[in-house]
Amino acid sequence: MKIVGRNKLITPVIFQTLKTHPVILALIALFVIFSGLYPERFLTPLNLSSILKQFVELMLFALGPSIVLVIGSLDLSFVGIWMLGGILVWLLMPILGMFSILVIPLLGLATGLLIGVIQVKVKIPSFILTLGLLVAYWGLTAVLSGGYPRSVRQYAFITARLIPYLPTAFLWSIPIIIVAVFIIKCTRIGTYLYAIGSNEEGAHLAGINVDKYRILTFTLSGLFTGIGLIILFPHLGCTAPIELKLNNVILPLVAIVLGGTPLVGGSGGPQRTILGALTLAVVYRGLYLSLLHPATIQLLVGLLLIISIVVSTRGLKGVTIT
């Protein structure tokens, strides 16, 4: 048998990757299109660094939900953790000093645990649960903040300028993303999550303790959201918002779906979301530069969400969709 040299494998590998990750084509195409349309504005270092900043925002928010989506559930509470976490940091600042930012991962962990346990014990669809929790956190934030957005300036050093035109937040986010992808792809936990997502009944029959891993998934999601928020909090202006903008919830979801993670779970995950977030960041920045009415941009984002879900569910057979 002739042993194929390594260089001969490069082309088929590239084609295979492109086939399974069509979003790469979209990313390259959009980048080229926008560069062609607005060369003086799109290819500047400033714009490219804005794209990276947008990517960080999308990616770190979408990291938790990406993990949860692997088992087929949805986690919409990440914005709530941001809001409530921000307010708690503001409240605890006088008492705990600089350590008060650690309250955000703790809150994320506790929230994830809470969601997981309720989901397992009460068996309510995850998106209703997390949506309810999001609204509850929003209300709590408004109550605790006294109605005004509060800012905590002391953490601005986390995202201070190190390398010109390369957002520091991006550098910080790389290890977080790597850890998340590692857990999903290279550990036994990750394999079990994929199993549960593909066929929960089968996974259960094969001996996987589905309940335990469900709780673990939500907890991981909350934890990663919390850790990511340590970076995002200064990145997004060091303030705890009190307005719930639906955009903040939807854009990370669009990034996840664009990346190719199906909504019923079983495949995909954070590694796909990286591509989706990058593509969405390029699209968003490109549209931003195009001086379209913001409502039109919003409309395109909505259409993008719908189209990407339609495209990603096309291969599903035998799944009853309610």
Binding site: I71, G72, S73, L74, Q119, V122, K123, I124, P125, S126, F127, I128, L129, L131, G132, L133, L134, V135, A136, W138, G139, L140, T141, A142, V143, G147, E200, E201, L244, L246, I250, L253, L263, V264, G265, H293, P294, A295, T296, I297, Q298, L299, V301, G302, L303, L305, I306, I309, V310, T313, R314, L316, V319, T320, I321, T322
Partner: protein, 306 residues
Amino acid sequence: MTIVGPMVAAIAIIAGFQVINPFFLRYQGIITLVYAMSYFLIVACGLTFVIMMGSFDFSVVSLLKLSALLCVLYIDKLGLLVIPLALLISIGIGYINGLLVVKFKVPSFMATLGVSVVVEAIAWYLSKGFLHIIYDETFRALATTFIAGLPSIFYWAMGIWIISTFIAMCTPSGRRTYAIGGNLIGAGLSGINVKRHRIYVFMLCSFFAGLAGVLYMAQMGGGSMEIGGADLAVAVFASVVAGGTALTGGVGGPHRTLLGVIIITWIQAGMLMLAMGRDIQMVTFGLIAVGMSIATIDRRRIKIIK
């Protein structure tokens, strides 16, 4: 869950707030409550049908906003023709919702969420963010003519509610909705054209949302992008499940939703009276929505909850 639960809750809430403030139910208070409840009830009735069928429709609030804004924006050019325009557009968007869920197999939650984003964008673009006011008296009379002491929108809401209950309980169409909600595959096997009926229910829900939007604009006389929003969405959803219509589908109905609407709007008015801000209201409605969903979900049927 039987009808006793929500009924007891409704009576308890009415009585409770009455005790706290004996002047709560004076004539003016009743009028305010009626104004708050009527358009709410119409939207909730529509949403009830979709939830009875086992799906969700997140776009109802955005549709209400769009049809209300369509009325106020084009009433100068089209006069009262804006009403059929708004209703037709709502039905069209309902059709798109149904198509996405049935033909493209998008989970109803995500599909209607996406559609609501698009609808909001359209509403934003058309209204340009400004506040618009209606000066046409005939249009406003639709909702504000006082008959026997109550505004006409009350009779609209009651009429819609009676029609909804009739459709749900006494027509084959309603029976089909319950069947699809109760057992999707079984309903298909027993001869119901599931695809066609689901699209029809989504269209019905959106029609009610559009109608509610038109009447809301007639009642309020003006509006901007501030109409509705996440608060209204949570409140409407909470009122449907508070009435006892389960998320798993197949149970409940518009007759239950009336109780749910009474509970939610009464709590809303009462909280306002007790000077509890919007934030606490939001927490309460979120907790009610989650709590009632937990209480009514039929755990025997659902083995796998995502």
